[in-house]
Symmetry: C2
Subunit: 216 residues, 2 copies
Amino acid sequence: MARTALMPAKRKPKADTSARDVKGEISAYKRRLILEEACHLFYAHGYEGTTLDAIAERLNVTKPFIYSYHRNKAEILREISERGIRLCLAALDEVRSNGGTPLAQLKAIVDRVTTLILENQEYIVVYQREEKNLEPATARDIRRLRKMFDTRLEALLDEGVASGEFDIEDTGFAAISISGLMSWTANWFQPGGRRPASEVIVQTLKMVTHMVAAPK
Amino acid sequence: MARTALMPAKRKPKADTSARDVKGEISAYKRRLILEEACHLFYAHGYEGTTLDAIAERLNVTKPFIYSYHRNKAEILREISERGIRLCLAALDEVRSNGGTPLAQLKAIVDRVTTLILENQEYIVVYQREEKNLEPATARDIRRLRKMFDTRLEALLDEGVASGEFDIEDTGFAAISISGLMSWTANWFQPGGRRPASEVIVQTLKMVTHMVAAPK
DNA sequence: GATTTTATATACTAGCGGGTATATACGCAA
DNA sequence: TTGCGTATATACCCGCTAGTATATAAAATC
């Protein structure tokens, strides 16, 4: 049983000023590999159902290897959990800063965020399920980010109501519902299943626009 | 530390034909008490974060007491997990059998099911989170029930489309979205928080009708 | 009130899994 | 080639918790 999978690719860093931090890059790459595999197993068997030895085995590595790249199991879960909301929030902010009519912005947000959610399905679901296994402080931090997402979405809805593009009674509630609708897709979407991601995105977009649209 | 909380209320069952099964009722009552407390702790600390000793302590009882009413920990989780979907499915079926226009039926379903979800919030959330800790066969069974719910909801939507009351492109997708919207409330609703349950129900109803309504 | 049955507690085990102290092999520099 | 530092593995420990064998008290039965 050769333990060769993650043997360091060797490269000799010259001491010149423009030297890339190859060592650091490799290190970061290994961290990512561990995270991906961990997420995959957490998704399949749950956090407590996944032993660190199991993660190590899948990588053809041993437990101390993992501990040299992540402080402990909870830390791994934390990084997995943060990923989804970080990406979604960044996407929302970018769309907002690009401007456009509220409806156009909303459509762009739903499109991009749903795409992200489906692409990062396992990360999203693991977070939703395993929040209780995070440090309380960490859980709070992430909840704050999610709240920010909803609040910023609400602001956009308010603009749309003001401009007459949207017909919404309670924009706060609508914002929660829309982000819920998008998050929910992660719970039932099956890659390779009957509905391809592209269709899920299109249909979600239609649901949302139908939900907020002012009568013509 | 007196262990008196669940001391059996004594009653002597007469051997006449109309005798109530008092013993059985008491037994069932104790089972329910255990389930409620277990659900409460699972909700607060997660399934793996809750020890059977902790449940026992909260009830002023010991672990073997629990084992004499439930086969094991997973069995407890199973009963908790089944509850939500059982209730919701029953409500849907009852509304369906009562008849009425598709729109009226949809409204009744959303009203009653959202109410059930908020009333049984902890049960719903525990199931959503801890599905991976169920026996695979059990998990499949429950998933089948949820699928039935969506399918029957879809059938109602089809009727509404046929009658012209609804304007929906993909009723299968809409059904998933609607049940998702309702389920999602369990994730963010806070009893005693800013939004009372009654308001959540009303707003959910509005979201759903807006989502499916045909333009007038 | 003696005896059997049931309900509950005490006290224990066994295994698992997160985390770590220690060993070893490998890459690199001179 | 040698020696050093780092990357990774081996082997271990410790705490915890699901589950149980056994004891005891209370209730039911006669």
